[in-house]
Subunit: 189 residues, 4 copies
Amino acid sequence: MMDRRRQILDAALAAFLEKGYSATTIADIRQRSGASTGSIYHFFSGKGAIAEALLREAVSGWSLLSAAALDPDTPDEETVKASVRGLVLWALTNPSQFRFMDELRRLSTADADFAAVRTLLDRGQEDGAAHYARMTARGSVRNLPFAIAHALMLGPAYAYLRTAPNSSADEARRIADLFADSAWQSVKA
Amino acid sequence: MMDRRRQILDAALAAFLEKGYSATTIADIRQRSGASTGSIYHFFSGKGAIAEALLREAVSGWSLLSAAALDPDTPDEETVKASVRGLVLWALTNPSQFRFMDELRRLSTADADFAAVRTLLDRGQEDGAAHYARMTARGSVRNLPFAIAHALMLGPAYAYLRTAPNSSADEARRIADLFADSAWQSVKA
Amino acid sequence: MMDRRRQILDAALAAFLEKGYSATTIADIRQRSGASTGSIYHFFSGKGAIAEALLREAVSGWSLLSAAALDPDTPDEETVKASVRGLVLWALTNPSQFRFMDELRRLSTADADFAAVRTLLDRGQEDGAAHYARMTARGSVRNLPFAIAHALMLGPAYAYLRTAPNSSADEARRIADLFADSAWQSVKA
Amino acid sequence: MMDRRRQILDAALAAFLEKGYSATTIADIRQRSGASTGSIYHFFSGKGAIAEALLREAVSGWSLLSAAALDPDTPDEETVKASVRGLVLWALTNPSQFRFMDELRRLSTADADFAAVRTLLDRGQEDGAAHYARMTARGSVRNLPFAIAHALMLGPAYAYLRTAPNSSADEARRIADLFADSAWQSVKA
DNA sequence: GATGAATGAGCTTTCATTCAT
DNA sequence: AATGAATGAAAGCTCATTCAT
């Protein structure tokens, strides 16, 4: 058939979302994808590798949308808003990928098998901390430990996205702006 | 020995936090607790029942601290702040219980076996929604869908608590106040 | 039932001899022994552990019969003969155990999983080398590298035992004496 | 590239010696040889056929060296010595092939799939028995069951060769003579 | 001659749960 | 209350082999 690898990834993502990563079995993926057990193992070394591949796709999709936030010439207010807006827009457009990413993040804190996942997700965390320190130095944002500032800025968006219903492109933009504004209000000096 | 039930619960909580609920086996709990397999099944009907018992303890501990928020005579600002403060103080004092509750909440959204857990955790959600509607009517808070208002108020706290380090009683109070203030700023009219 | 552990070991030994260690599956052992899969894993951590337990029994049975050879007061001729005689008598009395031990020895040279087995089997090798060195010093045996002396003394017995038919106690004694005499003729000074 | 068949055989022999026949997978051979799965199956009908081809090479190499022993005009002493000498010299010159042949011999006694291998290896056994019977009739060797005589003559050599270190051509000749002499001493009338 | 995707039976192992003592 | 032997369904994974290109 055409692009077995793709079929396996799609089937796996659907299964992960429906039953959760741990509860999803290779047999589930086999049935949904139509691929044989052997075929799955031909492309991926195991369930973990499938998850990692999916995560990599998700991360790369998201980072495209948050690129603006990394430009050093952007004013601080816009940087904060853009990163929140990027997250919300991406997540509302790709709710499956967001939820999957969120589940993996959780698993990666407990399970030792997910070291690679953890690394992938933590990348960007340091960048964020460094950037916030620079903004603090400039006096544009409150002087707070990054853990707290991060929670103030992105916590509401994460909390909402976890249970968010589907929304039209228009609604998505409005919601993204709302969380972006709120984020800036919460941390501005 | 003394209070086998207690030993089993403690061992289970420790194991759930270290390896995650799904990855924890009855054998893990047996080893950590010193109880025999049979003994564990004498007290609990299975792994799920142990989790539920732990959750019940956690929920009851938390609700004591958030009682103030339920008094109808309290001013709206204080109600909002008290509920956030209650969550943060309880979570920083009982980090294991908070993290466990958080994991169960996640599992309960995907796994059908956790209907009971879901019910337990959702209770209070409706109360919250109703209360917010009343405050909106009074004009003291922004008119927002409850899903969004809830995310604005509690999202930062949840985000922080998930990765929070241990803190002294004093620090805990300061952090609780910080998130409480921010919550009110985010939703006040 | 009575002594499941024993039943499992007996079934495993029979299967190993009939199909060879590698070709024997846990399912084979399950069927022959009547024990369930879970029961087998309750007593042994895996196929390797069963093999090791069987080997341990074999080694201890054999060493009882070869004890005489270790007495320092025994004349050299008798030491050499006793160790060969001990091997042959034990092997002809316990042909299954001998053949199994022989197969494991072979496997342990190639497969890294059998480190423990190898250690178990090599023990005694050094003792043998040391003893031969002492006999050489006394001038009672030919001055040969131990690898060669060992091959001259025990090689014929091993070669015969590998294909030996069943024999009566009387025949066994005669055959044992024959190989014992030949061993001494081959290495005496 | 050049002589894929050869590359496959070499890779297979190396793998068989390192991990043992059963534990060696087609994938191992694929990686070591650089040939594709399909290519391997183009030349050989399966793992067993590769082993058989290797064995055939080994047997033919060996029989060249032992040809002398088959001449009916050779004196009995020289016949016995030549066959032992031939085995030892060949094995010390081709240690990989010897060890592989030895492993296959073992497998062929247990596994039904190796009927062909068994036939190949047993050929010569009957010739040997017949020849020994003639020597016995002539009175030049001890009157012993062939199984025992065979063990006395070749047992030491086999035992040594199984663990033999590499040796120079000179050493090889000396060792071969040593085992040849010993073989004759053990069976001469 | 050569490739490597695809197959699926069969393997070892795990684990929640039951039950006789 | 307590024990731990026993169960067996189900999991992840391996691997010799086939076959379309």
